[in-house]
Structures are given as structure tokens and as C-alpha cells.
Amino acid sequence: MSEALLETKELSKTFNIGKGKSLKAVSDVSLTLNKGETLAIVGESGCGKSTLARLLLRLEQATSGGIEFDGNDISEISGAVEKQWRRNVQMVFQDPYTSLNPRMIAHDAIREPLDNYAEGTKQERNQKAHDLLHRVGLNVDFGQRYPHELSGGQCQRLGIARALALNPKVLVADEPVSALDVSIQAQVLNLMMDLQADLGISIVFVSHDLSVVRHISDRVIVMYLGRIVEEGPADIVLDTPSHPYTKALLDSVPIDHPSKRRSKTLLSGEVASPLNPPSGCAFRTRCPVATDQCAQTIPKLRSVGPKVSAACILLESK
């Protein structure tokens, strides 16, 4: 059985947005990331997947709930302990340009985390930075370039190299390929898969693109308005979805061949405002199978099959 590396317990995050209003970005999310696996978090914009990623990285302080890393509660750590923990979890960002300091050459950007932890001598750190550049397939003389002198794909490789510098156990990737062209996207996805195979790190892969998620992930978490609606092994969830939202999502994905054209059941309307979420099941306003009951209670995440859980009262009653 796989070993849990990063766990969250009923993690919630509420933002105060002034004038007494608050926005519940993440609600009661409990998840487990196992060693060596790729866990994808999927959802439409505003579903809280990016906030969740930031919570995992402690870039954001959770409002409630806990995070454990390797069995240790890390939700309250600070100072030197936090610094030591940080090297375990690293991040790859969506926009390859803005995630790099525009006034720092690539080599220095990669060396920075090493400098922070004073790993080895300066010479060794330079050497390691070179190795990392090489590892992500960048020519060494790219090391002397500024981000704006690199293409998007090269920047993203640089971002990955930087994230790998501290030999992290977890890589949190927030939409790492959504800003890239298809051919470059493939390069980066390949790189990430290679790295995982070689280094055995765990990856949290946040994405809205179901085909990418299907391709790369072991397990999938589907989120809607800050809550998990379905989770389970990628092949099961994405091939035989249980939750009506997952179904609708998959149905919306463009086909890969014109011969597969068919009439689809389109979701009506759009995601409700997180400022003013619907009562009960947040998805009920768009759900094709919603009943009156859906407005009453917030459905709990329950096992609906082998390794698969979903949050829908219609599935409970089955």
C-alpha cells in the first residue's frame, strides 16, 4: 500500500474581501498525496484549486483544518522549522515569465535556493545549477540569459529546474502547461513524467485540462466551488465518472476526431459566484439531475466504488 506523504484534514480558507464580505475559496478539503504519485486537482476557474495549491505550499495560511507532512503537523510551523520544511515542497507556476525574477539570469535563479540553504561550496552550487539546467534539457549557455531572452517553454523548464534544486519530495504544479503551445506542452509534460520516474517525487498537478490530467495523473480530485465533488484513480474517475459534475465536465471536453461528433448534454449557466454560493449542493443550480433535496444539505464525500468517492446525495441513495 502506498505511503501518505502530504495530508490535509478538513482544510478551509476564507478570504475577507472587505465590507464585511468573505469568500470561502476552499471548504473542508481532506486529501492525501502518496509517495511517488501524481495527484491531479481539476476544476473550472474559481473552484479553489489554486488556493488549495497555495495552502499546500503554506503561501497562504489556512483558516481552519490541518496539514501534515510525513506525519508531522506543519500548519503552525514557523522560523527555522518552516525554512527546513520548505525544501520538501516546491512549486511550478502557471506563467513561466512572471514566476521568474526578470532581473535575474537563469543560472542565478536556479542557484538561489541552493544559496538559501548554503548547500556545499559556491563552486559546488554553481556546478549543481549547471547540472540542473542540463537535467531539464536547457543548453548551459541559457544559464546566462534573462527570462525575457528565453521562450515560454524554456522558462518553464527553468522553473522546474529551480523547483528541483532542493531535491523536494513534493512538487506542486499549478497549471504548468496551460500557457504553452501544444508542442511545447508535450515537451514539458514529458519532462515532468521523466523527472518523476527518475526521482520518485510526488506531484500535485493542478489543471483545468482534463486530457492533460488524464494523461499524467494517478489520482484525480475534482473540485467545484471550493469543495471536492469526486476523487479517485484517474482512469476510473475520468472514464466512468460518478458525480454529475464530473460527467458534465468530461462531456464538455472537445473530441479528438471529427468522426466522434455527437450531440452533447451541455451544462446550463455558469459557475455560481463563490461570494454567494447556492445552499446545499453548490452544483445543483447547473445540475441536470438536481432535485429539491439538493438544496437542503451539503453532500458529504462518500465512497461510491472501489477507491472512488463522490459528494452527491443522489449517489448516496443508490
Binding site: 520548505r86 514566476s99 525574477n101 539570469i105 538559501n116 544559464g143
Partner: protein, 296 residues
Amino acid sequence: MNTSQTVPRQHVQRSRMVDFRRFLSEFTDGRVEKSAVLILIAALLISVIAPMVYHSYSDINPLDRMKPPSADHFFGTDHLGRDVFERTMVGTRNSLIIGFSVAIATTIIGCILGLVSGFISFGDKIIMRLMDGFMAIPNVLLAIALVALMGSSLLTIIIAISVPEIPRMARIVRSVVVSLKEMPFIDAAVTMGTPQWKILLRHLLPNTVGALSVQATATCASAIMTEAILSFLGAGTPPNIPSWGGIIAESRVFFQIAPWAIGFPGLMLSLLVLSVNILGDRLREVLDPRVARRRS
């Protein structure tokens, strides 16, 4: 750049000189920019050399009053018979000192205030309120009042012009810092364990350079102008420290009779301020990350 291929796997520091040269060539493309740079260099040279060469710039010669330009007096003489050319040449240094000192002083102090309130958020509210207070007093009036308080000398003029400019600079730095703070690369720095001070110095500060240098050039130009206005209002540099503004202001009532006494220093002042402004504009273009992105 090719050296890195012949010496592989060895860290070769990118040559800053190459960067600088490229920056310079981008910076000075165009005839207008080139002339502006030349004017600035000329002014710098004059300001270094003139005080060594000319010593009689304050010498009054009542018998030689308001003489038009001639071989003896290239720019003519003023109402006290002083040589306008010598005064203008020596004034170059004082005007430049005022411009540059104000720019440097406001940049440093404004930068510290902006960083403290924008990044550390220490006393953000109080600092910004204070800045609001200073900005609620028209800058020239504040400067006159400060000169009245401190008396008139090169140093006090510099302080008087700087104080009202600091809030502007502080606000600019603060707004840049506040928006930079939201940039993913700052998050990235946090996740890789970069200490706060290092984030401040290595990530934030270098990225404020663009906004800072643009504002600094604008401040430099406006300081030279403000000094002229202070002189006009009787609160400028003392007569034994000629500055362009002071020279013009002193001779202004004679503009119909001895136009040379304001014309030449006026021309110098306008040329220099124009050059600094043009270079500031250029700097804005070259340093603008959006423009840089488009160029690459």
C-alpha cells in the same frame, strides 16, 4: 557569449559590460537621444572643468554693466558687470549638483520609506498619512517655507526641493512594491526559503529600478526647474553660488534690455532639462518590461 561553449560546464559570469553596451546602444538609438547624451556629457564636463578655470564669476565690475556679447564676454555681462559666460559655466555645476543631489536624496529616502511601508508594512498607514500630509502642501510653497526656515545655501536649497518630492517617490516605490509582492516570482522565492531581507534586496529592489530611475530623472529635471522658480521668488541660491536658475532670475527684469543675460543661461538650462527629460522618456521605454518583452 561563445566562450561558454568552449569552456563547457564552467560558470562563466555574464559580462555586465556587454549588457551595458547593449543597453546603451538601445538607449541612444535615434539622433535626439544621442544629442541628449552629448549635452549631458558636455554639461558634466563643464561642471567639472569650469570651476577650475573660472574664478572671477562673482566679480562685480560696475563699469562693465549689461554689455552685449563680445570677444571679452562671450555671453555679455549682467547688471553688475559680471561675466555671464563665466557665471553660466560655473553655474552648470551648481545646477547639476542641485538636480542630481535632489534626485539621489529623494530616491534613497523615498525608496526606504516606500519599501518599509510597502513590503514590511511597518507603519504603512502612518507613513502614508504623513506622505499625504506633505503632498497636501504645494511643493514650491513648502520649499520656500523651508528655505525661509533654513536660510539659503546650496545644501538647504537641495533639502528644500527634496522634501516635497520625497512623498511622490515613496508612493511610487510603494505602489511598485505592492504590485510586485503579488508576482509569482516572489511566491517562488518564499517557497524556496529565501529570507525576507534577501527577497527585498534581490527580488524587489532590482525590479523597482525601472520606475525609480524614470522618476529620478524626472525629479532631477524638475529640481533644476524648481530652483529657478525659487530664485525667481527670492528663495534661490545665494548670489555667490551662481546657478542657472539664479542667474536667470537675477537678470529677468532686464529681459528686454539685456536679453543675453537670461538668454544664454536660459538656453543652457532648457537644453539640459530637455536632455534629461528626453533621456528619462527613453529610459522609460527601454526599461519598460512590456517593451523589453516585445523587443526580445
